[in-house]
């Protein structure tokens, strides 16, 4: 088997295992990454919401915010895990497509 084939399979395994990135923090009661708090969290932590942060934080509405489908936030880990895997699939699909296009433009022909 070609090494690239093996690596693609490895990526597939990582996609399927990706919900570990949800389960482990939940299990060990770990919160957000440092400096990536939402507005409510920062109010609790700092005692106030910085004005500029408040204005800018809602600047962009991502279609799949935090790798979860809109409206699924309260649905529990099994649903969130499904959304997480789907997000990984979509994200990797788009990333691979873009890199292949960039690679086609940039790479040397011949060898």
């Amino acid at each position: 088997m070609k090494i690239t084939t093996k690596l693609w399979i490895g990526l597939g395994v990582l996609i399927i295992l990706s919900p570990l990135g949800l389960f482990l923090p939940e299990h060990f009661k770990a919160g957000s990454a440092w400096g990536e708090w939402g507005i409510d969290e920062i109010k609790q932590l700092a005692g106030y919401v910085p004005q500029g942060l408040k204005q800018l934080s809602g600047l962009w509405n991502a279609p799949i915010p935090d790798y979860a489908f809109r409206g699924w936030e309260e649905k529990g880990l099994p649903h969130l895990s499904f959304a997480y895997i789907m997000s990984a699939l979509v994200g990797i699909g788009v990333v691979v497509l873009i890199v292949l296009i960039i690679g086609k433009i940039l790479s040397k022909k011949g060898d």
Partner: protein, 226 residues
């Protein structure tokens, strides 16, 4: 390490976009003259690997979460400039589609994770593995150390960027406008958690894959045969 919108002031955001533009331009130019057609799938795999490994949030029990970037591995296999492009694509998609990292902070996030990280990792790996045979343990150890140090330097930069905000932007009354934590807290938090936990994740991931490739595809580690 994905700085969201609102944590960096406009000046910082602008500066990092301005710094990254020439870096991206040079990266394109260098990759154009070095990347072979047969390496393109590996570059796509590298970008996808970086994307998905960042989804594996590792918890500090009762504390924060963090993750590896996978960028040192891409840099070892394809060079730091190609890694810069691969990680940039992953970060831009994370910001645009998933709101992971802010739109205004793409310049800063790319500087930390797509520039500082692959370059520190690549050159450290080069130095430690200097003249080591492709199949040697020194290569595996070099990969691990490069992963650990590179992620920590990237985290240090992120901490400094966060920590400068209250100095740069505050109200007349002294309240911060963006990130509310100063240098001391931000740098201690970012450096501490990465030194203790997340750096090891990048180290282990990088070392294990290099070990695997030594057996499965040693030609990928042989710079001369690239």
């Amino acid at each position: 390490m994905h700085i969201p919108d609102g944590y960096l002031g406009p000046t910082t955001c602008g500066i990092f976009y301005a710094v990254m533009l020439p870096i991206w331009a040079v990266a394109s130019k260098i990759v154009k003259s070095t990347l072979k057609v047969k390496q393109v799938p590996l570059l796509a795999i590298g970008a996808a690997f970086s994307f998905v490994i960042m989804m594996f949030n590792v918890p500090i029990p009762g504390g924060t979460t963090g993750h590896a970037v996978g960028g040192v591995l891409v840099a070892i296999l394809l060079g730091p400039w190609a890694a810069c492009i691969a990680i940039t694509v992953a970060l831009v998609i994370q910001a645009l589609l998933f709101g992971d990292g802010g739109i205004t902070a793409i310049g800063a996030n790319c500087f930390n994770m797509a520039f500082v990280l692959p370059f520190v990792g690549y050159y450290l790996y080069k130095i430690i593995s200097y003249q080591a045979p492709v199949g040697s343990n020194r290569r595996v150890i070099a990969a691990g150390i490069a992963g650990y140090v590179a992620l920590n330097i990237a985290a240090l930069f992120t901490g400094i960027e966060f920590g400068l905000q209250p100095i740069l932007h505050h109200t007349a009354g002294g309240q911060a406008l963006y990130c509310p934590y100063g240098l001391k807290i931000a740098v201690l938090a970012m450096a501490g958690e990465h030194l203790l936990v997340f750096g090891w994740v990048e180290a282990i991931v990088t070392a294990l894959v290099i070990k695997y490739l030594q057996k499965q595809a040693p030609e990928l580690l042989d710079e001369g045969g690239r």
